[in-house]
Amino acid sequence: MSLTPELRRDMYRQMLRSRAFDDAMIGLYWVGKTPIFAFANGPLPGELHCSNGAEPVGAGVCAALDADDMITADHRPHHVAIARGVDVRRMAAELLGKKTGLSQGKGGHMHIYAPEVNFASSGIIAEGMAPAAGMALARRLQKRPGVALTFMGEGAANQGAFHEVLNLVGVMKLPFICVVQDNEWGVSTSKKESTAVERNSDRASAYGMAGEYVASNDPDDIYEAAARAMARARSGGGGTILELRTARLAGHFMGDQQAYIPAQMKQADPIPPYRAKLVAAGVLTEAEADAIAAAATAEIAEAVAFAQASPYPAAEEAFDHVFAA
């Protein structure tokens, strides 16, 4: 694969689908939550961690994957799930706790399971690490192809699981990529305060694997770095820590005013510059770019309508699925 016009148009499209999804969810989230803010109120209850600003990560990395590859994501999963091809109608329904949701209303937005595209997420920080490595091990034992990727924030790189699993991946030479999304903030704690090294990708040398840092939040650069890491994993060259400088434009979660972020650290939206870049390169016309945006908005509006029209699960369904029969 290479950075063809089709691929770049598709990455742009995935970024806009993700942004449209999150913008729609943010709109729904505030319904019923004013003037008194309470997580439990409104049609979209609970915590909501939106991906605004991180869309290039999902689009760029997922463009380098095959159907066999496997993903675990974290509490901020939308941009990765959407770029991976998770059904947005059922994902929207899951966020609203509806019976038609991916998990019939048992997961919510942090727990997105879509085995048909090898996607799972966990709300516990860095706890996607080990399951992803285990999936890579399973494929090796099954003699089937597939690289496992876990997506996390830079804050997760200070968890014990991160270090234990990287060592295991290094020892076992597993086809594994740890995608560290460096948005500079773990809730309100800056990377500088929390992390002893400037770049988590430098930690790769401690675990006998490759490390690469992409500073641009541009899906072209992210795609090329991901493609290098994928080639390494597929050829038996082992794991990679792929650290991607990205943005967190909508706070840690809804309700986070981000007053702790100093003015000089305000983050830029990656979508307008990528659009301008593709137009300047002749990959897209302005009209085509507008059409992609309009199609994404319409697709998500339809998904939200589907979710809103869907029924809630019956209360008694709480007792289903505790165990596999």
């Binding site: 991916l102 080990a130 285990g134 399973a138 494929r139 099954q142 234990e164 295991l168 165990f323």
Partner: protein, 340 residues
């Protein structure tokens, strides 16, 4: 054909039989390849199955038990040897939030079939960090099956059942019951006639290990054997004690417990786990919530008190729920007048 086996050999036989026939089963853990696991459950498996299926890991329980959960999600059935339950602190999130919750949170889209073997218990002077039972701490988590064989027959049958289950199963063995070299002569009542052919023992069914009419002594793991010793002692005093082996904590056979206790009207629960917030209280609740009138005397718990397990022999032997304490408790409620 059957032979007399220890629990460790019986469990090993079941694992071996299933591994020979099912390529999705593999063993993962510390010291499993050369050492066969701390209880010898995978003894000789390294040479027989090779390093692909008997995978030695570094001392990284969060890492490799989490990997097992991921491998299970991707179609394998990992078997993990976590030597001592005292070590769950270093991998508890995997138990608490991943292996136990994924099936539910995915509405059944993703299964996590894995078997986690853990040794429990004290009584051999290993102090507060290597002697705990903590079975209530794992049985408290929804989405986990927790089984606890106390003899070789059940050890084999429950291992087959665990390996054929599509869920996360924690298979507990009290170290003192396993019959491994470093724990001295095996306790006689842990040994059983074990058929060579495979068989399953269902989860969620108590076993009445000894019939009796005056009092029901309920145990799990090692305390079953202490209850059996107490029953022999009580018989000398003319007290007929029934002994119940819980065998499975999740699911818990509440109907079976109620039926057994209804027969005698008196109950003593012997549990080597800590007294408070534990299995002992849960067992009593299974009876009194349904009908307290079946009890002719208040129920009694004989447990490890709420203190860290002491090292020195006189102190440790004093606090464990051994046969003497169990028999004393039974005598007390059997001689006490029925309260009107």
């Amino acid at each position: 054909m059957s032979r007399i086996l220890t629990m460790a050999r019986a469990g090993r036989e079941a694992l071996d039989w299933e591994m020979e026939r099912r390529s999705e089963i593999f063993v993962l853990g510390e010291d499993v390849y050369n050492f066969g696991g701390i209880f010898g459950t995978a003894d000789g498996f390294g040479a027989k199955y090779g390093a692909d299926r008997v995978i030695n890991t570094p001392i990284s329980e969060t890492g490799f038990i989490g990997m097992a959960a991921g491998a299970a999600m991707a179609g394998m059935h990992p078997v993990i040897d976590l030597a001592y339950i005292d070590f769950i602190g270093v991998c508890y999130n995997v138990l608490l939030n991943t292996a136990s919750k994924t099936h539910y949170m995915s509405a059944g889209q993703v299964k996590v079939p894995m078997t986690l073997m853990i040794g429990t218990g004290g009584g051999y002077n290993n102090a507060a960090q290597h002697s705990q039972c903590l079975h209530a701490t794992v049985a408290h988590i929804p989405g986990v099956k927790v089984v606890y064989p106390s003899n070789a027959y059940d050890a084999k049958g429950m291992m087959h059942t665990s390996l054929r289950d599509e869920n996360f199963v924690i298979y507990l063995t009290h170290k003192g019951t396993a019959g491994v070299g470093w724990m001295g002569t095996p306790i006689k009542t842990t040994l059983s006639e074990v058929p060579e052919e495979p068989y399953t023992v269902p989860f969620g069914k108590i076993a009445v290990t000894r019939e009796g009419t005056d009092v029901t002594l309920i145990g799990l793991g090692m305390s079953v054997h202490e209850c059996l010793k107490a029953a022999v002692d009580l018989a000398r005093d003319g007290i007929s004690a029934q002994v119940v082996d819980l065998r499975s904590l999740a699911p818990l056979d509440r109907d079976g417990i109620f039926a057994a206790v209804s027969k005698t009207g008196r109950m003593v629960v012997a549990d080597e786990d800590y007294l408070s917030y534990g299995v002992s209280g849960e067992v009593i609740a299974s009876v009194v919530e349904r009908d307290p009138r079946v009890l002719r005397a208040p129920p009694v718990r004989v447990c490890t008190p709420d203190i860290p397990i002491p090292f020195a022999r006189p102190m440790e032997q004093h606090i464990l729920p051994l046969a003497g304490r169990i028999a004393d408790a039974a005598r007390m409620i059997c001689t006490r007048k029925t309260e009107q």
